[in-house]
Amino acid sequence: MVAVCLNFQIHQPYRLRTDYNFFCIGRDHNYEDSKTNRDITRKVADRCYIPTNRMMLDLIRKHKGRFRISYSISGVCLEQLEKYAPEVIDSFKELVNTGCVEMLNETYYHSLAFNFSRQEFHDQVLAHQDKILRLFGVRPSTFRNTELIYSNDVALEAEKMGFTAILAEGANQILGWHSPNYMYQPDPCSSIGLLLRNYRLSDDIAFRFSDRNWEEWPLSSGKYAGWIHKIAGSGEVVNLFMDYETFGEHQDKDTGILDFFHKLPSEILRHPDFKFQTPLEVVSSLKPAAKLDVPYFISWADVERDLTAWTGNSLQDSAIQMAYSLEAAVKKSNDTNLIHAWRKLLTSDHFYYMCTKWFSDGDVHKYFNPYTSPYDAYVVYINVINDIKETLKQYEVLN
């Protein structure tokens, strides 16, 4: 049997006010563009989360337990949904209650904390765990680090924290001749199972589906299921990980993406050797095919599949350095609002906006960027982080 393992990432950052200028520093502690955050949450809820959840629920009922999926929803996104679109939270609860949906654990603030502060990473993973438990009554066993950022160390840390499964990008540079269509064991680990995203098949849906210049356009459920079925005999799992916003948001509903997906489970299950499983179920039912050594960081972003979408240019590194340099003082303040405000500034999107790689991935960066330029993103962020620093001075936890 080959397992089809679906994981949907759901994340919305708290976007900052683009007019937070120098004069605000030390005087104005209102950093976020609440109107934009509300509007985007509402819009994406209406275009994607609500109709797509409805479709998933319908598919789960229709296939009576044979259609199974998993979600990874950032804490900052859950907060905004609770505030601006609570009916979406209700529909996720309904999905979890079917027993066919696994909720994954990530960092609450969708941050790069693993790379910059192990303590903060722990805090955020546990905060997210709490949030999932409180909202959905389940405790996650599978870990997905922000943007599929992964290395041996991430796996080891996740294993230590008690996770059974972990997700990563099936990046060419780590796979070599290996296939992403098996379960692996991270090199330094003894129990945790590693699932690697099949980026080709995932991106056929997430990126290429509506591309009219793509030779496979228009893509039908039957044709796509045929590609999946080719894995029979040469793999044990096919990991399709993508942004949930693919459905109705990145790909407009007029592209037919929802119809495509609605027909897909039946097409896939038409082959008797195929089944749907959640990450935890895959890892529990398969034996690792091999050990996989990933000594350096990979991610699912851009063509490089590394950290250069968020770090590496001087703007990003200077912003990250300043943000994490305040960690001790922020925590010492014991001011929960201030800690929360600071943590929201750790969300990876802020650094993504400062990316200056305008070439092959520029388009994707532009799409997600509320700023006119990476320089504006940097200037606003630095103003805000300087205001946090001023607040800390008033607490006398920082000189």
Partner: protein, 433 residues
């Protein structure tokens, strides 16, 4: 006496010192009895508000619908707006670059389906039209020929290169004498990489002029040496300062205790922003209770932001973008020191504004304003160590800062546009015999 005067910027369209200079000069010339018809490129949709002016607004100069509207009856200054995207300090290269950037941004805006908003940018790439700069200058020159035949006047006065062709056309059409006023040369704007076309226009303007006004001796020597003009043809009339109640805006207080060192101006090579950044880095190695602010915009801004990030000065160095109104007033009043490290500055009027706000000033020796100020600290623009130590001295010795501020403020009282306007009027009289 009636003057036909060509400019490129005027309040409220100020983007630099030229507008301020034209404003101060014409205001006092009119007070002294001179009538001025001021011709100005104008972008449709921008509002002109200036109570002391008589305003002539024309959407297109070749249109029969050109209209003359008197705003303040009896005023001696008329204001003629020519529909054109001309902007000071623009060369064709930056013009094209701006265009490309805007097109890119427009594409991007249409792609960003996440968000419908007018983006705020420190780079401020709005306000640009199509077409190339030289064509616009030629189109503006057409105004000169037109007004040369339609209007009556005694003398023609043109401010900087974009208006020289208009001045020449007016001279040809009317037979009147031409004064050209050099606020900056192509060597100031572009160093040694001069744009040949612009240089040729400047040179032709100077050759065709009956007299040339230079804003400093420094500029006069460039005109004589690089443009081959006879020294006796060139008269130096220094810029001055307006001391009117400009400080009435509601001002903001700073939200922190560190002292502020301000750079304010276009962020271009000519203004030496890179020397300011490097000096800031040196200062921060020996003192921490200071923040540096770079206010303004320009083609070097991205590079400056990257350099500040690279030097990890993010906790002490800020960028504001272009400032005006209350924010401009606020930044001056919040500042403890103003630095103008210009590489080449024909005059440089902003130190006056800082001094009016009681802010001590450090200027480069390579600026014309140094010729008229004694109570300022001066350094060579390239000497970042000297600049850094001067910054540290002013910030750490309050008595020095106070002395500079007070003496500077007093010195300003003697530098008036009234005097400069008198000199220009005298020059006219001498020319007209």
């Amino acid at each position: 006496m009636k003057v036909l005067m060509f400019g490129w910027e005027f309040p409220p369209y100020i983007s630099g010192g030229l507008g301020t200079a034209c404003f101060g000069l014409t205001r006092h010339m009119t007070e002294q009895g001179t009538n001025i018809l001021f011709v100005l490129p104008h972008i449709k949709g921008e509002k002109a508000e200036n109570s002391f002016l008589d305003m002539i607004a024309a959407n297109k100069v070749d249109s029969s619908k050109s209209r003359i509207r008197k705003i303040a009856p009896g005023s001696k200054l008329k204001y003629f707006l020519v529909d054109s995207p001309l902007r000071p300090y623009m060369v064709d290269k930056t013009y094209q670059a701006k265009l490309e950037a805007i097109n890119k941004i427009n594409d991007r805006i249409s792609e960003v389906t996440h968000r419908k908003t007018t983006a705020n940018s420190v780079l401020d790439l709005s306000n640009t039209y199509g077409q190339d700069l030289i064509t616009e200058v030629a189109r503006y020159a057409y105004t000169g020929g037109y007004l040369g035949t339609k209007e009556t006047f005694d003398i023609i006065h043109a401010h900087d290169w974009m208006t020289f062709p208009a001045g020449i056309e007016a001279k040809k059409a009317s037979g009147k004498q031409l004064v050209i006023h050099v606020h900056a040369t192509e060597f100031d704007r572009s160093g040694e990489n001069v744009n040949r076309q612009i240089y040729d226009i400047e040179r032709y303007g100077m050759d065709m002029a009956d007299r040339i006004i230079a804003v400093s001796h420094r500029t006069k020597s460039i005109i004589v040496e690089r443009y081959d003009q006879a020294p006796e043809k060139v008269v130096v009339i220094h810029n001055a300062v307006m001391k009117e109640a400009k400080l009435a805006h509601a001002r903001m207080r700073k939200g922190f205790t560190e002292k502020i060192v301000l750079f304010l101006g276009r962020i271009t090579t000519q203004k030496g922003p890179d020397y300011f950044v490097e000096a800031a880095n040196l200062v921060l190695q020996s003192m921490q209770n200071v923040r540096f602010v770079m206010a303004g915009t320009g083609d070097m801004l991205p590079k400056m932001i990257e350099r500040v990030a690279e030097l990890r000065m993010q906790g002490h160095f800020h960028f504001t973008g272009f400032l005006k109104g209350a924010e401009l007033e606020s930044i001056f009043s919040m500042s403890d020191l103003y630095v103008m490290p210009s590489v080449s500055e024909p005059f440089g009027i902003t130190p006056f504004e800082a001094m009016l706000h009681g802010v001590p000033v450090i200027i480069s020796r390579q600026s014309g304003i140094a010729e008229v100020l004694t109570h300022v600290l001066t350094t060579d623009f390239w000497d970042i160590e000297k600049l850094a130590s001067s910054i540290i001295s002013v910030l750490s010795h309050p008595e020095l800062a106070e002395t500079l501020a007070e003496a500077g403020h007093n010195e300003l009282q003697k530098i008036s546009w009234h005097h400069a306007a008198r000199e220009v009027n005298n020059l006219y009289k001498e020319m007209l015999g």
